[in-house]
């Protein structure tokens, strides 16, 4: 047995699964996105009571905060915890685990083939709830949904990597009426195996997902090519990041940026008058606050190879910098140096923690 099919829509199926986990006592709490039926506001709920699951909105196309980041403070979990995360959130969490910022111990990870999420500015619109049924239909038919985040439309990693449980949604027409729950690990079979439903040995059909992945890849190329419309090089960088107000919000919401205080806010980068005089010489004018572009490039050296492309950073940018797209583009190149895929495997060491004796012979 590697999958259980339920005769209900995928979102309902996930809620049924969570209810089963709570009612059977297999887990003591679940972490899942919800929607306040009174206000329409989304959040991420930590729920211990079955009744609390009525407001769960497990696959609504919304990401308020990266669940991977939130999960850090809940782990190592003393008692079993089930978590519903998007594939990128799970990858982010794995990246955090590698940095000792969390643990997979006692955590049942439930993820799904993801159709992407909408930017927060769309989510807060009053009519947002109306968008969802159509969204789910289009996702199920394997389409890339207009209006979702840039990095979501360009995301090839929408099939969860190493989740305990995977629900099939994207590119699965059956997900509107039926919920296919794939049990990938021993932990999943142990905790979820007792859920009533039609058991089978099905696996996710790679042919279908590959097709969607190919579409997303085309979208990604388009996105990457559009990033510096008028200039490459330093001009391009200034064009993209030159609007930065230095709020560092992007770093704060980034699930990979785990530092208590960002190094770029430290005293090393506090300047005095002689510094500005030196900087001005031969130039005549400076942009203040200082170090805005430096901050972004510096952050790339810190974490780009671990970027999962969740897109939160772009969402929170007050001046509309496509931070996520830039980081995703750069991150693909830095990760490729080491054949590294962020969040692929918790045992895979961060590329900056290890080395090979024979590599990069072209350098130096």
């Amino acid at each position: 047995m590697s999958s259980i099919n339920l005769d209900m829509s995928a979102p309902d199926g996930i809620i049924a699964l969570l209810k089963y986990l709570l009612s059977s006592g297999k887990v003591s709490a679940v972490l899942v996105p919800r929607r306040n039926p009174d206000t329409g506001a989304y959040d991420i709920g930590l729920i211990a009571d079955e009744a609390g699951l009525d407001s769960a909105a497990p696959v609504d196309p919304v990401m308020l905060a990266n669940t991977g980041q939130i999960l850090s403070s809940l782990t190592p979990a003393k008692r079993s915890l089930a978590v519903v995360l998007k594939p990128c959130e799970l990858r982010a969490f794995v990246e955090r685990v590698k940095r000792e910022q969390g643990s997979l111990e006692n955590v049942l990870t439930i993820s799904y083939t993801c159709g992407g999420v909408f930017p927060l500015e769309k989510v807060i619109e009053e009519s947002f709830a109306d968008v969802i049924p159509n969204y789910l239909k289009r996702v199920a038919s394997g389409e890339i949904v207009d209006g979702t985040r840039d990095t979501c439309r360009a995301c090839e990693h929408f099939v969860p990597m190493n989740a305990d449980v995977t629900i099939s949604i994207a590119a699965d027409a059956g997900s509107i009426a039926g919920c296919r729950i794939y049990l990938n690990t021993d932990r999943a079979r142990e905790l979820v195996g007792g859920l009533e439903g039609k058991q089978s040995d099905d696996e996710i059909d790679p042919a279908v997902t590959l097709k969607l992945a190919a579409k997303r890849k085309v979208e990604k190329e388009k996105l990457f090519n559009s990033l510096a419309p008028t200039g490459d090089g330093l001009d391009g960088v200034i064009e993209v990041f030159g609007k930065c107000v230095g709020c560092h919000g992007c770093g704060r919401v980034c699930p990979i940026c785990y530092c208590l205080l960002c190094d770029f806010e430290s005293r090393s980068f506090d300047y005095d008058l002689p510094y500005f005089e030196k900087e001005l010489s031969g130039k005549g004018a400076l942009r203040l606050p200082p170090d805005t572009i430096f901050f972004h490039l510096g952050r790339m050296t810190h974490m780009s190879f671990s970027c999962v492309g969740c897109g939160l950073c772009s969402d929170v940018c007050p001046v509309g910098i496509p931070v996520a797209s830039m980081f995703k583009k750069v991150g693909e190149h830095t990760a490729a140096l080491f054949d590294y895929v962020a969040g692929r495997d918790v045992e895979e060491k961060l590329p900056v923690m290890v080395y090979k004796e024979e590599e990069f012979s072209e350098l130096g």
């Binding site: 940095r99 000792e100 060491k349």
Partner: protein, 1020 residues
């Protein structure tokens, strides 16, 4: 033995002499290091790279040389010789002659003007005559001490009474033509001879045409040619037409393994030396075709065979087993080799260049010196020592190390040097040292929080700097920089009077930072730091700006730009200095006890060395008996009985009150760090686990004979391993019936997939036992199946002896291994049918063997993996413990306070294990003999409030010096282990780590201070 002394005379300042001196000095002993040439360093500075890591020779040696020169307890006597000794061990009187240098070393500032102006050119010995030097010169550019000497035999003044140019140009008034040879009387508790070797001189040797044909050079000359700092700048060209060679022939054993010239020994290092040169040459010239002509490739050391394989497979070096008969020079300069292949065929080969791999021979001076010192030489004129006293000369209290008593490579020399120190310790008055003495002097001022008050001293260095850079301009510019309270230019910043000036200015101006803009901080920063410490400042408040080596000397044609750069360098240094803070070197207490793991020969020897120096030792042996592998060794070449020696050693261990043996013991856990380890040992008699505290750990876990499944081992009583064979020879319990044909197969399990290493001892051991067999069964015929005979060093003559008995040598390759069949499959005592390929006859031979001996590999014990994890030290790919540096730290681990010796390190013979065990003990004593050591000042520091506990740093640190505390979830630096490299600091994403002395703020400030656009000319 009379009284014990606190000083030692070490003769010879090559790597062995340097290592011995450093170890002794660290034990608190006064060392007089006597060196014949005008510099310390010996042979290593002449080498370009070292095998098998291709480490740059000078890179690894230079720090040791300067440490030696700086050490307060080491006095270097260059141009000197030991002429006589009198007195008793423990209280020798040594007569030293210091030959005149004609340059006052106190006054000479090594500016080099004299050399520039000297009109006499002579061959440069250091560069093997490939370059010229002057009659007044420095031995080589990085020589230590950095002094000039006059070569009296070539100086115009001394030979013809004219010139005196050097005296005229010397700005320091250092030339003294009146200088005389001086005699010194030194007292010494012990004497260590580290006089090294001479390279074999191949002039007139064989028919190789050395010195007749321009393109035939020795391996030492080729080393200089390969060297980036050599006479050709590392550009390999041949002498006849300055063209890059396309093909090079290396001829092995030139002056080695040659009875006809009285050199029936192997020089041990040349095979590897050649492989290295072939690889390096190939790296220089991608199209080069190197061919090596050899008898046997003796890659017997740790990781050597892998290197050999790499040369063949990766670099395409061709190895041709043959004997070169002669060489002809062809028109155009190419060389034609005539050589005999293994099967007797005569072949010819044409090469652009020929390298003669010259052997190592006893030093010419050995005969005279040995007579003067009343010490015996062996038949090859090397100092005599024996298997159970590998470091002792024939005179009590006089020790030998390095290649003085036999050819050795660098790590073996270092091992023997450290080992000799442990042996000498017996004659020395050793006391555990306090660290307080280093802190004497003025009480340190607390400058924390004070506004930086910087003093800048710009050095003229005679005309070295001032001849190019406008020093006054630089000093004036410095005065304009903020926080600079005082600035001046000085003639020689390092001269005694100037150092006094600096101290005076600190007081006058209340300086709390000092910058000296002069030469390189690598050589002079310690001096200036000491100086400001004498004035009450923390030594780390001094920085240097390198305006000589990296400015005036490098920009001699551009004085204005050089002046501008000097200003920038000073400004950058001031910017860094503003951010400097006082650094403390924290004392780390050292527990005087030691843990030795393994009670074989190595472990016992190490334990005894430590115990005899007064330290308590916990010796843990996993078996029920002491002795390890040596319990199975019954014969030895020089007649000394191994079992008698072993019994004596065990008795000494058991009788020694300082040694506590844990028999059938097991290590359950080790925690702590240098000086402060705690180990849980179970077993040890009462069966309860016990915790012991100790300051150091010596790993001597030994090795095991590989249990082979090849060659039908185990199927017939007539198939035995080499160890079993030795027992059989001892007991006389041979299989019943005739023992006529005995086949010995070498490299069983060694040098092949899964065990890509040579087990080193098997060739010698098999030769030894074959000779024993001949004694026991004179009628026996020995068939010796081998891949390369590796009877290195003086072991060679036993191989020759075995050959002379008529033993048949059958060389095989991995593809042509001998095939063994039982004559009668059903009989467990069946004779064997051995089929082997004879490459000389080029056909298969079949032998009905009465006995088959399998020389099985040496395996690392399984427990190594567990122990390595506990100690957090690495194993190499073969499962042997991996030392800190394969060349210069052969018994240390990167982690301080942990040492390795014996087979745990790699396969080796008894004498080598003894030497290495003593070396490990000696290195351990450098810690144990101190009550406390000082941690580095330049170490990583954690700002706990910013640390996220991600453990990047922990995964990166090579010294296990930083760990995330599981409770606090922040990184914690172990100050005792941190080496201050800063790798962790640059890995820290959160900015929670910093490197004291090289902090982020310091580096950023320094860079920020730089003008990124250079205004041309610098004058405006």
């Amino acid at each position: 033995m009379g009284s014990k002394s606190k000083s030692v005379v070490v003769v010879g300042a090559g790597i062995a002499g340097i290592q011995a001196s450093l170890d002794l000095a660290e034990l608190g002993v006064e060392v007089h290091l006597i060196e014949d040439t005008p510099t310390i360093g010996g042979r290593m500075p002449q080498l370009d790279k070292t095998f098998p890591t291709n480490d740059c020779s000078m890179c690894i040696l230079a720090p040791k040389m300067s440490e030696c020169a700086r050490h307060a307890r080491i006095t270097i006597h260059i141009n000197s010789s030991l002429d006589a000794i009198s007195g008793e061990p423990g209280d020798f009187r040594c007569t030293i002659t210091e030959r005149a240098k004609y340059v006052d070393p106190v006054k000479c500032v090594a500016c080099g003007l004299c050399e520039e102006k000297c009109p006499v050119k002579v061959d440069d010995v250091f560069d093997t005559g490939l370059r010229k030097r002057k009659a007044i010169s420095r031995y080589f550019l990085q020589s230590i001490p950095a002094e000039y000497t006059i070569d009296k035999d070539n100086c115009l003044f001394f030979t013809r009474g004219v010139c005196k140019m050097c005296e005229k140009v010397c700005p320091a008034d250092a030339i003294n033509y009146e200088d005389q040879d001086r005699q010194l009387e030194l007292s010494a508790g012990a004497i260590i001879l580290a006089t090294g070797i001479d390279p074999f001189n191949p002039i007139g040797f064989g028919n190789f045409g050395y010195h007749r044909f321009a393109n035939v050079v020795t391996s030492l000359e080729f080393e200089r040619i390969l060297s980036a700092s050599g006479p050709l700048g590392g550009h390999v060209v041949r002498a006849s037409d300055s063209k890059e060679p396309k093909s090079i022939a290396f001829i092995q054993c030139v002056g080695s393994r040659d009875e006809s010239i009285g050199k029936n020994y192997c020089s041990s290092a040349c095979c590897m030396f050649t492989i290295k040169q072939a690889i390096i040459a190939k790296e220089h010239m991608k199209d080069l075709e190197p061919t090596v002509f050899y008898m046997d490739i003796r890659a017997f050391g740790k990781d050597f065979d892998k290197y050999y394989e790499k040369a063949e497979k990766k670099y395409g070096v061709v190895f041709t087993r043959s004997k070169v008969a002669d060489i002809d020079e062809l028109p155009g300069g190419n060389l034609r080799l005539r050589y005999t292949e293994e099967n007797g065929d005569i072949k010819y080969g044409e090469f652009d260049m020929v390298i003669l791999a010259i052997g190592l021979e006893a030093r010419e001076g050995n005969r005279v010196l040995s007579e003067e010192l009343d010490i015996k030489l062996n038949e090859f004129d090397f100092y005599r020592s024996d298997a159970f006293g590998p470091l002792e000369s024939t005179r009590e209290g006089v020790f030998v190390c390095g290649a003085a008593n036999g050819p050795k490579d660098i790590p073996e020399s270092v091992v023997s040097a450290s080992g000799a120190v442990a042996s000498a310790a017996k004659y020395l008055k050793l006391e555990r040292q306090d660290i307080a003495s280093e802190d004497e002097g003025a009480a340190e001022l607390d400058v924390t929080g004070d506004r930086p008050r910087v003093g800048v001293f710009v050095c003229h260095c005679g005309i070295n700097i001032a001849g190019v850079v406008d020093v006054k301009n630089v000093a004036e510019y410095a005065a304009t920089l903020s926080n600079v309270e005082h600035s001046e230019d000085v003639m020689y910043a390092c001269s005694t009077d100037c150092l006094e000036t600096i101290k005076k200015r600190i007081e006058e101006h209340g300086l709390n930072r000092v910058i000296v803009a002069a030469c390189t901080p690598r050589t002079h920063e310690p001096l200036f730091r000491e100086t400001i410490a004498e004035a009450g400042l923390n030594p780390y408040l001094c920085e240097m700006a390198n305006i000589r080596d990296q400015c005036s000397w490098a920009h001699m044609e551009e004085p204005e730009l050089a002046t501008a750069k000097s200003r920038d360098l000073v400004e950058m240094t001031v910017a860094k200095a503003r951010q400097l803070s006082s650094l403390e070197r924290l004392p780390i207490d050292i527990d005087p006890r030691a843990l030795v793991i393994g009670g074989g020969l190595s472990g016992m020897t190490a334990a005894l060395s430590l115990a005899e120096a007064g330290h308590e030792v916990f010796l843990v042996e996993k078996e029920k008996d002491l002795g390890g592998n040596m319990r199975d060794i019954f014969f030895n070449f020089d007649k000394a009985d191994p079992q008698a020696f072993l019994a004596e050693t065990i008795a000494r261990v058991e009788e020694n009150e300082n040694i506590r043996v844990f028999m059938a013991g097991r290590i359950d856990g080790i925690t702590g760090y240098v000086g402060n380890f705690e180990t849980t040992i179970s077993g040890g008699g009462n069966g309860d686990a016990e915790k012991v505290k100790h300051g150091v750990v010596i790993v001597a876990t030994g090795g095991e004979e590989h249990k082979t499944e090849e060659y039908l081992y185990g199927r017939s009583s007539r198939i035995v391993s080499l160890v079993e064979f030795e027992k059989m020879l001892k007991t006389g319990n041979f299989p019943a019936g005739r023992i006529r044909n005995v086949v010995i197969v070498q490299c069983v399990g060694s040098r092949e997939e899964g065990r890509m290493y040579c087990s080193r001892v098997c060739c010698t051991k098999a030769v030894k036992n074959a000779l024993e067999l001949k004694k026991a069964k004179p009628g026996a015929d020995v068939y010796f199946a081998y891949r390369d005979i590796r009877t290195y060093g003086f072991r060679e003559k036993y191989y020759t002896e075995l050959r002379d008995t008529g033993a048949v040598f059958l060389r095989y390759t991995p593809e042509t291994k001998p095939v063994v069949n039982m004559v009668d499959e059903t009989n467990p005592d069946s004779r064997l049918k051995v089929t082997a390929f004879d490459p000389i006859l080029e056909k298969e031979v079949e032998i009905t063997a009465d006995l088959l001996v399998l020389s099985a590999a040496i395996d690392p014990p399984e427990g190594n993996v567990r122990l390595a994890k506990m100690l957090k030290v690495p194993l190499n790919s073969d499962g042997m413990f991996l030392e800190a540096h394969v060349k210069l730290r052969p018994v240390d681990f990167a982690t301080d306070g942990i040492f390795v010796c014996g087979l745990a390190h790699s396969p080796k013979d008894m004498d080598e294990s003894l030497a290495q065990a003593k070396a490990a003990a000696s290195r351990a004593l450098t810690f144990l003999n101190k009550k406390a050591i000082l941690a580095e000042g330049t170490i990583a520091r954690v700002r706990e409030d910013r640390c996220s506990g991600c453990a990047y740093c922990e995964s990166i640190c090579a010294y296990a010096a930083i760990e995330v505390d599981p409770e606090k979830e922040v990184a914690v630096v172990n100050e005792a282990l941190c080496k201050g490299c800063g790798a962790c600091v640059a890995s820290c994403r959160c900015g929670a780590l910093d490197l004291l002395g090289f902090s982020n703020e310091q580096l950023f400030s320094a860079f920020d201070s730089l003008e990124m656009v250079i205004t041309d000319g610098g004058a405006d």
